[in-house]
């Protein structure tokens, strides 16, 4: 089977390259920046293949991001068509007493259902806003979304397999794959504490509907508070390990200098050398009520947005109209749980006519606060600078 798969993958790679050439040369290319994916509305396209699409900012005006507008991020171009009937989830590894192979109906039937509202945010969200620029997908603000995830607890599935107390990490693999066998498959691991956390789910629903194909149908991992790199889509293999997972995606990629990003939620078995894995989502906020031209009109536009962090809880959101000299506290809105977007709003202050810039910043209950300028780092992760938006005040 491995050989057949290999051949198939190579064939698919060649086929897609051939098609690419044929369509590319035959058709005058319409360079629209939006496109439709299965089950999706028009999103902002970064790349065709593998597909990477971001959510336009206006969809963050609702606390939950619509499934159709939820961002799409793939590392590899061979993507399964996702048949729920065929899909099986294999659980194994040296740190479980017995291997399991679960179908979707078994997963739904044999385990208690759990729900969590949580932000899924790419580690590199806003990378395109770094100056000087940083190589990598040039995301704007939209490599994130907030959804109500429904599934079963990873802890319950691991317990059924008889997780041993020698387990150090749990590794996750998926049905998508690179076109070349030599390219490292996308496998990520979690420390035991995070894997066993009751909010860490194997999810089959998103906002009350099956996961859209490009968001991981039929099942994906949901790791509330941690960046999307761990939220493995099309999840089909869970391995309990007694030593650290060492593949490229853990040992080299998705790491940051330890000194500049002290983390609350750490991954000790992966912390070797100067760089540690990206884990928790940095405290952040966004203004979402801009007019079509990207500016706010005082008195006419609403002044509102969202704030979020790694689940420690948003303490406050503030806005400034004088480049950070003074800050005004905003009113926080509905609370869908610690991992969710938290909406906020503010009244307009009295401002003399003219052009302004409004800055927004959030702080969490652990005292972490957004920064004026993004912290430079080699891969352009964790951009959490104040959001700045132009404001017009008419006479």
């Amino acid at each position: 089977m491995a050989l057949e798969l290999t051949r198939r993958r190579t064939m698919l790679g060649l086929l897609s390259a051939a098609l690419w050439s044929a369509t590319g040369s035959a058709i005058a290319f319409a360079r629209d920046a939006v496109a439709l994916l299965p089950g999706k509305m028009a999103l902002r396209r970064l790349t065709h293949r593998p597909p990477n699409y971001e959510t336009p900012l206006e969809y963050f005006r609702s606390t939950l991001t619509p499934n159709e507008a939820f961002f799409v991020r793939y590392h590899h171009a061979v993507i399964p068509s996702g048949s729920a009937e065929d899909h099986r989830l294999e659980i194994g590894g040296s740190a479980v007493e017995r291997s399991l192979s679960l179908s979707l109906p078994e997963l739904r039937r044999d385990f208690a259902v759990a729900e969590v509202v949580a932000v899924c945010q790419c580690s590199g969200n806003r990378r395109g806003l770094f100056e000087p620029p940083v190589a990598g997908l040039q995301w704007g603000h939209g490599a994130m979304g907030n959804a109500r995830w429904r599934g079963v607890r990873l802890a319950d599935v691991l317990a059924r397999a008889g997780l041993k107390n020698t387990a150090l990490e749990i590794a996750f693999d998926a049905a998508d794959a690179p076109p070349l066998d030599a390219t490292p498959d996308f496998i990520k691991s979690l420390p035991i504490a995070k894997a066993l956390h009751p909010d860490t789910l194997i999810a089959f629903e998103m906002n009350g509907a099956p996961l859209p194909e490009p968001n991981g149908f039929p099942v994906r991992l949901v790791v509330p508070g941690w960046t999307a790199t761990y939220w493995i889509k099309h999840l089909n293999k869970i391995t309990a390990l007694e030593s650290p997972e060492k593949n490229f995606w853990m040992s080299t990629a998705y790491r940051m200098p330890r000194s500049i990003f002290p983390l609350v939620s750490r991954f000790p078995s992966q912390e070797s050398g100067e760089r540690a894995p990206v884990t928790e989502i940095a405290v952040n906020s966004l203004i979402t009520s801009m007019e079509a031209d990207g500016a706010l009109v005082a008195g006419r536009s609403e002044l509102r947005g969202i704030a979020w962090d790694s689940g420690l809880g948003i303490d406050r959101v503030e806005v400034s109209f004088d480049q950070g000299l003074t800050w005004r506290r905003c009113e926080l809105g509905e609370n869908l749980g610690p991992y969710s977007f938290r909406p906020w709003r503010a009244d307009w202050p009295a401002l003399p006519p003219g052009q302004y810039e409004v800055w927004a910043r959030a702080a969490n209950r652990a005292g972490q606060v957004q920064v004026e300028k993004p912290i430079p780092n080699p891969s352009g992760y964790q951009h959490n600078a104040f959001h700045r938006v132009p404001v017009r005040v008419s006479a």
């Binding site: 698919l12 690419w20 005058a28 065709h48 293949r49 336009p56 040039q138 995301w139």
Partner: protein, 124 residues
């Protein structure tokens, strides 16, 4: 094992026009670039870096593709591809080319505003 390629399926669809991938810019080394790079990813990965596509940037990216992603190419191939990228996707090339294919799909402004309404770049 029913592993259908979603991306290929999409390209075969009659409405595939909207999903047709961008073309690699004309220039010496283009065929080798297509042969060595396009089996794994579309050229928009390259276009999005053109704004800051210095030789040093392209060297780091080609090295990363070879070492981390195991892109199959000889040292000689890598030099040809590097020269092609530097010439066709350097910062000086953006917006000055006679090519019908713009090098950057998103202006800096539209990335920053993030809005589709009014902020979306126009098709050429």
């Amino acid at each position: 094992m029913n592993r259908t390629l979603w991306t290929v399926t999409l390209m075969l669809m009659p409405s595939g026009l909207a999903l047709a991938e961008p073309e690699a810019a004309p220039g010496e080394g283009r065929e080798l670039f297509i042969a060595r790079c396009s089996s794994c990813h579309s050229v928009d990965y390259v276009e999005m870096h053109a704004r800051f596509g210095t030789r040093a940037l392209w060297e780091s990216q080609v090295t990363k593709m070879r070492n981390a992603y195991k892109a199959p190419m000889s040292d000689e191939d890598a030099q040809i591809i590097l020269n092609y990228l530097e010439r066709q996707y350097g910062p000086g090339r953006t917006d000055t080319s006679q090519s019908t294919t713009p090098r950057s799909s998103m202006s800096k402004t539209s990335v920053a505003s993030g809005l589709m309404v009014g902020g979306a770049p126009r098709s050429p």
